[in-house]
């Protein structure tokens, strides 16, 4: 009975998510960029197939870093606030559906909607999925916080800028100014899910120690073969924390 309810709402939310023009726009943009990068990389290399970490893979990882959080945050932010603005959230919660079922089903459906683009690069699928889910959870949390869909979309954009650019610039600035030890640098990297994803993605492509950077080199030295487990654990924790925050904010709100 409960599972049937969950799936009913999830199917409904998936249909709504697939109608989100931003999702399709980002997915199309990402697909076009990824194809162009791959083609350029393959032409230059003169062969096809996965060639480990190189210029193409670096470009693709950077593209993933930009697009995946943007898609997750935007779609997540539009979910609850958009439904609230249209009145469909109130109407849904007036039915025999719990808030947990509503939020969980929306999260599952939106993750499924974004899953197509995440699976383009199977080697990175695990990390990408976790990053996408974290971004989606953060987007849902922003959506639970705000009343209007436009406000939620704006907040999502600010969060994306913060994660993608400001955290990166902050890391560079802090490194130059404070000259932290490698352990401190690694801690700073792990605080940002995007940097964690980047480290994991580069490592998964059998990168050399040079391309991992000082934080990555220290991570390999410190954790060895257990590094992927640590990185996946950090991303999974981020994922759980973001969805947990979304749930708490949604439940605490106490209205529709």
């Amino acid at each position: 009975m409960e599972l049937r309810l969950f799936w009913t709402v999830a199917r409904r939310e998936l249909r709504e998510a697939l109608r989100n023009k931003w999702l399709w726009l980002y997915a199309a943009g990402f697909a076009a960029l990824a194809l162009a990068l791959s083609r350029a990389g393959l032409s230059a290399a003169g062969y096809s197939g996965l060639g480990g970490f190189g210029r193409t893979a670096a470009s693709l990882i950077n593209a993933l870093l930009l697009f995946v959080p943007l898609m997750g945050l935007s779609v997540g932010a539009a979910a609850l606030a958009g439904d609230r603005e249209r009145g469909t959230l109130l109407y849904l919660l007036a039915q025999p559906v719990s808030r947990a079922q509503g939020l969980g089903a929306a999260g599952l459906a939106l993750a499924a909607a974004g899953g197509g683009s995440a699976s383009i690069y199977l080697a990175l699928a695990g990390y990408t999925l976790l990053l996408a889910l974290t971004a989606l959870g953060l987007g849902l949390a922003l959506s639970a916080l705000t009343r209007k869909a436009a406000t939620a979309a704006g907040a999502a954009l600010v969060a994306w800028l913060g994660l993608v650019f400001f955290a990166d610039l902050g890391l560079v600035g802090a490194t130059l100014a404070l000259r932290p030890p490698p352990s401190g640098l690694l801690a700073w990297v792990l605080v940002n899910p995007l940097q964690t994803f980047k480290l994991g993605a580069i490592y998964s492509l059998h990168a050399t120690l040079d391309t991992l950077g000082p934080a990555g080199q220290y991570a390999v030295y410190r954790f060895g073969d257990a590094l992927p487990i640590l990185l996946i654990g950090v991303l999974a924790a981020w994922c759980a924390a973001s969805f947990g925050a979304a749930w708490l904010l949604f439940a605490r709100r106490g209205d529709a």
Binding site: T8, R12, R86, G87, L90, Y91, Q95, P96, V97, D255
Partner: protein, 310 residues
């Protein structure tokens, strides 16, 4: 007229014997410094229609949402004997809700009903039954967005009735309907109440809605239930005075004014050669009787409800 925690309609003895379906006890809700609900207490029985009357911001919609568990509040709300706070989902199975603003997904009528039917664990046969019953058969494959306001309201009622709940909550049920659709819809609701014994609670600010449907009226002011009235009492309270313009022979006009003021009414002769008198709604015949007793004939009259004093 009752106040506070009155539980049954005056003169409706059968209600006492019927099951109590809704119990609201000392329900309060604050939004920051503003009190949206202040210790609201009332009950409603099977087959009873109760109107929530009040100005915008009086707390009508908040109370309906609290009864659905959509707003966390202090106090206790029991529907069908179950606590909204402790068993929100179970309670929502007993309640059909029709919001003021129809908010449907971008689907066709049958698909929309099908989605909510799945949520409520109801089969396709019930969907077909309600489509026929609520006059939606000709629109079953139409997009919801293309429906008129009246048809959307019927669709919302169909969704509310899917699980055949004993309680219906309606927020301004005819606010978006034209006069014909309004009468039609009110007849439908009255039928649900009388034939199926549904308890209907509806927020309203339209007198015709209350007159047509309500057994009792809960008057809310700034979140407080100030009094429980019959529809007739509400009418007298909302429209406390009417203005009568009387045509009396010119030579008796001054005497007519003196007679009326002497009887306690506010009256005067106006520039049109008529006598204007204000009386309480429900007592409009009394000035005629007073003038007749003095042998003053009234040739004609005009009636204005709540109009300006001349």
């Amino acid at each position: 007229m009752g106040t506070g925690t009155v539980t049954a309609q005056p003169g409706k003895s059968s209600a006492d014997a019927q099951a109590e379906t809704v119990r609201v006890e000392r329900v309060s809700k604050r939004y920051g410094q503003r009190a949206a609900l202040r210790g609201v207490t009332f009950t409603a029985h099977a087959g009873e229609a109760v109107a929530l009357w009040g100005a915008n911001g009086a707390g009508k919609s908040t109370l309906l949402k609290a009864m659905l568990g959509l707003v966390q509040c202090q106090g206790e709300i029991l529907i069908g004997g179950q606590s909204v706070r402790r068993a929100g989902k179970a309670v929502r199975r007993l309640v059909g809700y029709v919001p003021q603003e129809m908010a449907f997904y971008d689907e066709r009528v049958r698909a929309t009903l099908g989605f909510y039917a799945q949520l409520k664990g109801v089969g396709a046969a019930r969907v077909d039954e309600l489509i026929d019953r609520l006059g939606l058969a000709g629109h079953a494959d139409a997009a919801v967005a293309a429906l008129s306001g009246g048809l959307k309201q019927r669709l919302a009622l169909a969704v509310a009735l899917l699980a055949d709940p004993p309680v219906l909550l309606l927020d301004e049920p005819t606010a978006n309907l034209d006069a014909a659709a309004q009468q039609d819809y009110l007849r439908l609701l009255a039928d649900l109440r009388t034939r199926e014994g549904k308890t209907i609670l509806f927020a309203s600010h339209r007198l015709e809605e209350v007159e047509a449907l309500a057994d009792r009226v809960l008057l809310l002011e700034q979140g407080e239930l100030v009094v429980i009235l019959t529809p007739t009492e509400l009418l007298a309270r909302v429209l406390p005075e009417v203005e009568l313009t009387l045509w009396v022979p010119a030579d008796r006009r001054l005497e007519a004014v003196n007679t009326l003021t002497g009887s306690g009414w506010s009256a005067h002769a106006n520039g049109r050669g008529t006598v204007v008198v204000r009386v309480r709604a429900g007592h409009k015949a009394q000035p005629f009787q007073a003038l007749q007793a003095r042998g003053i004939a009234v040739d004609d009259f005009e009636l204005a409800r709540g109009g300006a004093w001349n």
